[in-house]
């Protein structure tokens, strides 16, 4: 009957039914090119760094570090708040605060980067997923910048959140929160700057090392060894040496390099930078030293990903 299809169409329309054509079809929608590709790599990198969508075992390592670092902020906030209420502002001012936080936690933070950041690029090389990325619109530079940005975003959050927690603790613990905030608002940009320097340093160095291996464990072990060994070694040697030699030996304490920026930003000195009198080096020298330890690994990282066949 010729009216069959029309009748069934009419019935379908009356019943409000919809026909879904499932299965593979040609795509006629939007194509957003490299920009979408970069965002996808960035988004995937953030998920990888935080082990989102992964099982509890994969989450254990990064989240342990994050909890320790944020926990530190909580403890300082609780201590400061309690001291303010019970012992008074003079005593509370003697307690570790924003300027001291990165000096106390820089090694833990760098270890967090060392064990987490390689996960963003090593498996892609080991599983050769990069071959699939690089036949798509993105370039190797897009890829590595997106991965770097992804871990930097996570590192910034991990660096800033404990300080924000500490700031909230200090504000809430003060009998006059508004006055405290007005008098100490400059801590906020200082936190952003000092935390940013720690995050940029740890991210760039960890990814540069990771770019030389396809195994996350190798990169992590190398970085952990580098920091864990360099700290006591340089501290011991710097304390035994005098003058400029001691200062420069202390500058090779890799965990202290971003803390020098923290000192300059807050205008204070932390115990980790006093060793060997490194804090007495000119500001320009200490900033240049920090810049060198960011720019050199960045150059290495970019060099490693200059081609589509890394």
């Amino acid at each position: 009957m010729s009216s069959g299809p029309e009748t069934s169409e009419a019935r379908r329309a009356e019943s409000g039914g919809t026909v879904f054509d499932i299965g593979y079809q040609r795509y006629t929608g939007a194509r957003e090119g490299r920009a979408r590709g970069r965002r996808a790599i960035f988004h995937g990198g953030v998920r990888t760094a935080l082990a989102l969508g992964r099982d509890g075992r994969a989450k254990a390592l990064p989240w342990s570090f994050i909890l320790i670092l944020v926990g530190f902020g909580f403890v300082l906030a609780l201590g400061a708040g309690s001291a303010l209420r019970t012992l008074g502002p003079e005593v509370a001012a003697q307690l570790p605060s924003h300027a001291d936080y990165y000096g106390m936690t820089s090694l833990i933070f760098i270890l967090f980067a060392a064990v987490t950041a390689p996960e963003l690029i090593c498996p892609d090389r080991r599983n050769r997923v990069v071959d699939l990325y690089f036949v798509r619109p993105i370039t190797p530079l897009d890829y590595i910048l997106a991965r770097w940005s992804a871990f930097l975003a996570v590192a910034l959050a991990v660096a800033w959140v404990p300080q924000i927690v500490l700031m909230i603790g200090l504000v809430m613990g003060n009998p006059e929160p508004g006055t405290y905030l007005l008098e100490n608002w400059t801590d906020l940009p200082r936190i952003l700057l000092a935390g940013g320097s720690v995050a940029v340093y740890a991210t760039t160095l960890a990814l540069a090392v990771a770019s030389f291996t396809t195994r996350r464990a190798y990169a992590a072990a190398f970085l952990v060894g580098l920091f864990v060994i360099s700290s006591p070694f340089t501290i011991g040697l710097a304390q035994e040496s005098e003058g400029a030699l001691g200062q420069w030996i202390a500058m090779f304490n890799l965990a202290a390099i971003p803390v020098h920026v923290n000192d300059i930003v807050f205008g204070e000195v932390t115990p980790i930078t006093i060793i060997g009198n490194a804090h007495l080096l000119p500001v320009g020298v200490r900033l240049s030293w920090f810049a060198l330890w960011v720019i050199a690994p960045a150059a290495v990282l970019l060099y490693r990903y200059r081609r589509r066949t890394p």
């Binding site: 499932i22 299965g23 593979y24 079809q25 040609r26 795509y27 929608g29 939007a30 194509r31 957003e32 090119g33 490299r34 979408r36 590709g37 965002r39 996808a40 790599i41 995937g44 969508g53 992964r54 994969a58 498996p123 892609d124 599983n127 050769r128 997923v129 071959d131 699939l132 990325y133 690089f134 036949v135 798509r136 619109p137 993105i138 370039t139 589509r308 066949t309």
Partner: protein
């Protein structure tokens, strides 16, 4: 619009002192094209150059009318299935495909939809939420094909798509390749050292040997009719052979058990007709015999590991 999807002119690739491709001139057109050659012939190098993963030492390559090295937009319409493993083990197939679709430029929502649709196309819809590490070799090959198709490319390059598969898996994969072109019009370039795969799947064929193009054309050009007839009967074969030989016709047994009869002129057809009528053997098929690719290459002194 031209149907020339890849044009390679004088492409040479050197790895130190080793020359992988000498001077490759090749045009890949719409359809399914087989790139056939023994291991080490330069197939994978050619594919990696066509994809822009490797720069040629010399020569020019245009893909979809663009220089692949400088035009990233050409990559939005290209798909690639490598021979080697390239899948992240700990993520699910649907998550991986959705991610790769977005890396190809698709917005997140259509990327998720197409990931599921593409997995349905390759027969992995039910398993789409399982981590890839739990997949069999055949399933992983299908995921590799799916990621090459998820962004709806115009041209897909498949490097040894049947590598590591058992005969049933190979046939399923080749069916998928044929279906992908037939139903969706996606052009495919398939590299293989297995002549059977190429013969069964491809419209056109390019033969590479020692980094050079030996011959290119339609598969039927390579399997030209021979000066023989292929004859199959359902019964009374022995009587038929005796009758034919009695008439002076030279008869041999083919590899598949068919009878091969020398000559294709009218008198041979007359002899066959008369012999069939005389013996009463029920005819199943009678046709000029076409050469198998394997036979062609074996005659040239080449053995491509031929699975025909």
């Amino acid at each position: 619009m031209t149907d020339q999807l890849i044009v390679a002119r004088g492409v040479r690739k050197e790895y130190g002192n080793v020359v992988a491709l000498h001077s490759l001139d090749l045009v890949i057109r719409d359809g399914i094209t087989g790139l056939l050659g023994e291991n080490g012939a330069g197939k994978s190098t050619a594919i990696r150059i066509f994809l822009g993963l490797l720069p040629p030492t010399r020569g020019e390559v245009t893909v979809l009318g663009m220089d692949i090295a400088t035009h990233a937009e050409a990559r939005t319409r290209l798909g690639y299935m490598p021979e080697h493993d390239c899948l992240p083990p700990s993520v699910t197939a649907v998550e991986f495909l959705s991610h790769m679709a977005q890396v190809s430029g698709l917005p997140p929502s259509p990327a998720r939809t197409r990931a599921a649709d593409t997995l349905r196309h390759v027969g992995l819809f039910e398993e789409r939420y399982r981590p890839i590490e739990g997949y069999s070799t055949g399933m992983k090959q299908r995921v590799k094909l799916a990621q090459a198709l998820v962004h709806d490319p115009q041209l897909v390059l498949l490097d040894e798509p049947t590598a590591g598969l058992d005969p049933a898996g190979r046939e399923e994969m080749l069916d998928l390749v044929r279906k992908t072109h037939r139903e969706f019009g996606i052009s495919i370039m398939l590299s293989s050292h297995l002549m059977g795969d190429v013969e069964r799947t491809c419209d056109r064929l390019a033969l590479i040997r020692g980094g050079m193009l030996i011959q290119e054309g339609a598969v039927t050009d390579f399997t030209l009719e021979t000066e023989r007839l292929s004859l199959e009967v359902d019964d009374r074969e022995t009587e038929l052979v005796a009758e034919l030989e009695g008439r002076g016709v030279v008869v041999e047994r083919g590899e598949r058990g068919e009878l091969l009869i020398e000559g294709r002129d009218a008198s041979v057809y007359d002899d066959v007709r008369d012999a069939l009528a005389h013996t009463g053997a029920p005819l199943r098929s009678l046709a000029p015999r076409r050469r198998a690719l394997a036979e062609l290459f074996a005659r040239d002194g080449e053995d491509l590991g031929g699975d025909t």
